[in-house]
């Protein structure tokens, strides 16, 4: 093979690889973006019970209840404007508390209950997820560092 041919092969191989990867990336990102909504937004923005979304806000005080099997937990997430009931089966993270910020990932059922597949609470006890803080600010209920959860 001549030098020119060699270069052609390498360039063509590189371009092909790049094309395939771009296709993968486009499809992968498109299908796997998980949108974050606050309790005020979720009802209108979610397209159906199949869409996987994140819901974030504060766990409403005295809203937590355990079912008889001891595994299914229900609670309500609020941004002080709207409230969404959540159901979750499994072990809650160590830092899950009423009155604290939380992010749930799952889907919104047709009956308006959010079915959480995972519940995220951060390691830091002062944790206020950035999205939650922003959502609270938008709803006009941000109380700053001394509020329901301290800003980082």
């Amino acid at each position: 093979m001549k030098r020119k041919h060699r270069r052609m092969v390498i360039v063509a191989g590189g371009m092909a690889a790049l094309g395939i990867v771009t296709a993968f990336l486009a499809v992968g990102l498109e299908d796997n973006l998980v949108f974050f909504y606050s309790p005020s937004e979720i009802a209108e923005k979610v397209k159906g019970p199949d869409q996987r979304v994140r819901l974030g806000g504060l766990v409403e005080m005295d809203s937590m209840a355990k079912s008889a099997d001891g595994l299914t937990v229900t609670f309500r997430i609020t941004d002080m404007a709207e409230t969404v009931p959540v159901t979750f089966t499994g072990l809650l993270p160590d830092l899950f508390r009423e009155g604290q910020g939380v992010v749930c990932e799952g889907s919104l059922r047709a009956d308006g209950v959010f079915e959480a597949a995972t519940v995220l609470a951060k390691h830091d006890e002062n944790y206020m997820p950035k999205e939650v803080a922003d959502a609270l600010k938008e709803a006009g209920n941000w109380q700053g560092a001394n509020g329901a959860g301290a800003a980082p």
């Binding site: 093979m1 030098r3 060699r6 092969v9 390498i10 191989g13 590189g14 690889a17 790049l18 990867v21 993968f24 990336l25 499809v27 992968g28 990102l29 299908d31 796997n32 973006l33 998980v34 949108f35 974050f36 994140r54 355990k66 099997d69 001891g70 595994l71 089966t89 499994g90 072990l91 809650l92 160590d94 830092l95 992010v103 990932e105 995220l120 951060k122 390691h123 830091d124 006890e125 997820p129 950035k130 999205e131 922003d134 980082p152």
Partner: protein, 662 residues
């Protein structure tokens, strides 16, 4: 007093770093030997002062001097001694001091062992190191001073985040930083080489051991973090594609690519500008890693210290370093004369393909990690990119990479015979095929991806064995002669084989545990038994125990299989009294084939407890594989030809002697 000494030492170190960053650089341009010679004493003095500052901070932590704000915020008098030490870098300010200390340490190594480097190159490398030091020292002194005092001093401290009070995480940051900062060596050599306009085999020979050292530490550091997440978070998983994990994974991918392209650069004089670019990218991603973790732009389960004001500084620094070095690269790289032509099918071609796949993987991870940030900054929706994206993009790149890794070492330099290499790999191919068939037969076609993954791992492992066996002429010579050849084989060759075999073991562990993990979540009362994956787990009792600075609810699980006792497991749920924070300590029983993993949850108020039990097949292989990889790196580092400061060749080769191939 001690804290003020530390603060003062940091200021002196900054002044020295400025001198080190400017004077030798100018000296090298002017060819002024005296100015260039200033680099080494400046490095030594800088190392001394940063060590002093580091020691002062450590002292403040060990004696619990709560008048120092950093100690008060991150320590407590009842904290065990190990975590008083680890607490030094378990927080933002202290971890940055560790960062610059390691930077100065690497600089010191160049000054110490760089006797045979051309003086101008050495001066420039040390200057670049000095300039990086200026950036970080200024950052510490301006935004993150670890020696700030509190008046009045609190009676006791706020304690270290309990999740960090763990042996795995005590050593995770130093190893990770040794890796991150290690890439600054490759970066400094790259920039110095660009300034000189000369990148040659000697240059690559110098870059390789540093990269290898950095890569080995980074591998160990990432693994330690992953191991910690596995046993401490209680989710049974070892990797979550979390932004902070990705932040350390991207430099690893770029560093692995650099490690391989530097070989081509050294042996064949090809891929020069690509290698230089990778060196710049690997270090830039290390800085980005620091930026992502420290700035608070990312929502993550692992980000411990976050402050947007600091983010702006690091972002500016990042722009300066990346922008500056890439501009220099743009100006100088076209003039680099690349030698060593090669056919697409050759060792070089294989390494190039490895590089393409690794850097593409790096780009996909980067995109997935930063896309939510960009979208947020541009005022779009708030999104997150989850594991499905990473798995979907990463696996199609990893599979061909494993296959190429199996073939590559059997290809000759310059021009190779692919058919011949494949023929030599017939046993590997048969083995891989057998693995795929067995997995599909035992499980089902639904697990075909797992079968392919395990097949690729088997292919790679058998490929490594084939290559070694050929080198030793195993079964063709007597065992004694083969042994002699094994001893005579360059350590670099052993290192490569070990590292590749480690990858095969690692991949096997990852594939098996991701595919065949079984999980049970249930409510149990003492005396209840749950069956999972052929084992019976009985919750014997739940007690309260007291630790040095926590109280714990501790469960006792008796594990049996076929009526035979296997082990007793003691998962805990700890509450740290100072912070009031709960942590999970999983109870894990490890065999070489699987982990039995138990977690105890909150009591339900009527005598029952939520429990989570996992059977994680082959998880130990993940850690074992990584250890083998790192051992490979260490073995390779001991190769005489890598030894820092070893002359290129001790004596002239005898006439007609063939140069050793590695």
């Amino acid at each position: 007093m001690i804290a003020e000494i530390g603060h003062y030492a940091l200021i002196l170190a900054l002044a020295l770093a400025i001198v080190q960053g400017i004077v030798p650089l100018i000296g090298a341009q002017r060819n002024d030997a005296a100015w260039m010679a200033l680099a080494r004493p400046a490095v030594a003095a800088q190392f001394f002062f940063i060590s002093t500052a580091f020691a002062c901070l450590m002292y403040a932590f060990v004696v619990s001097d709560f008048s120092v704000s950093n100690v008060a915020n991150n320590s407590h008098s009842t904290k065990p001694l190990l975590y008083k030490f680890a607490g030094v870098w378990g927080n933002h300010e202290g971890s940055l001091v560790l960062w610059v200390w390691i930077l100065a340490f690497y600089g010191g190594l160049v000054a110490l062992f760089g006797g045979n480097l051309p003086p101008a190159l050495r001066a420039r490398v040390l200057s670049i190191q000095g300039l990086i030091g200026v950036g970080f020292l200024a950052f510490i002194l301006m935004t993150s001073n670890p020696f700030l005092r509190l008046d009045p001093a609190p009676f006791d401290g706020n304690d270290l985040n309990p999740l960090l009070q763990d042996p795995g995480l005590a050593f995770h940051p130093p190893l990770l930083y040794f890796g991150y900062v290690g890439f600054s060596m490759a970066f400094a050599f790259a920039v110095a080489g660009l300034i000189e306009g000369r990148i040659d085999a000697t240059w690559a020979r110098w870059v390789r051991p540093w990269t290898l050292l950095a890569w080995s530490s980074l591998t160990l550091g990432v693994a330690l973090g992953s191991w910690w997440a596995y046993y401490e978070l209680g989710w049974g998983g070892f990797w979550f594609w979390d932004p902070v994990e990705n932040a350390s994974f991207m430099p690893w991918l770029a560093g692995t690519a650099l490690l391989h392209s530097a070989i081509v650069c050294e042996k064949r004089g090809a891929l020069k500008s690509w290698t230089v670019l990778l060196a710049i990218i690997a270090f830039s991603l290390s800085l980005l890693g620091t930026f992502l973790v420290r700035s608070g732009v990312l929502t993550s389960v692992h980000a411990f210290a976050t402050d947007p004001a600091r983010g702006v500084f690091i972002l500016g620094f990042l722009v300066l370093v990346v922008g500056g070095s890439l501009t220099l690269y743009g100006v100088r790289a076209p003039n680099l004369r690349s030698g060593g032509l090669f056919a697409p099918i050759s060792r070089e071609g294989g390494l190039l393909l490895n590089n393409l796949l690794l850097s593409t993987a790096c780009v996909t991870v980067l995109l997935g990690t930063l896309y939510p940030v960009f979208l947020d900054v541009l005022g779009g929706s708030k999104v997150s990119v989850g594991p499905p994206y990473f798995e979907m993009t990463f696996i199609p790149l990893a599979l061909p990479l494993l296959i190429v890794t199996g073939i590559g070492p059997l290809l000759a330099w310059k021009r190779a015979d692919l058919a011949g290499a494949l023929y030599r790999l017939k046993f590997a191919a048969l083995g891989a095929l057998a693995v795929i068939i067995v997995v599909v037969a035992v499980h089902s076609f639904a697990d075909v991806m797992a079968a392919l993954g395990l097949g690729a791992a088997a292919w790679l492992f058998l490929g490594v064995v084939t290559e070694i066996a050929e080198r030793l002429k195993l079964f063709r010579l007597s065992l004694r002669d083969s042994l002699a050849r094994a001893i005579g084989l360059p350590r670099q060759a052993w290192g490569m084989s070990l590292a590749h075999a480690g990858v095969a073991v690692l991949v096997t562990g990852i594939v098996a545990t991701s595919t065949w993990r079984t999980e049970g979540i249930q409510n149990m009362r003492p005396g209840d038994t749950v069956a999972l994956a052929g084992y019976e787990f009985t919750l014997n009792e739940v007690n309260f125990v007291e630790g040095p600075n926590y109280v714990a609810q501790r469960a006792e699980f008796a594990v049996t299989t076929d009526g035979r006792a296997v082990t007793l497991l003691y998962p805990e749920r700890r509450r740290y009294q100072v912070t009031g924070q709960d942590t999970t300590e999983a109870g894990i029983h490890t065999t070489l084939l699987a982990d039995l993993y138990t977690v105890i949850g909150e009591p339900d108020g009527s005598g029952g407890y939520a429990t989570r039990i996992y059977h994680n097949p082959l998880v130990p292989w993940i850690w074992l594989g990584i250890l083998i990889m790192v051992t490979g790196g260490a073995v390779s580092l001991t190769d005489r030809r890598h030894r820092v400061g070893a002359p290129r060749r001790a004596r002239k080769p005898a006439p007609g002697a063939r140069p050793q191939e590695g």
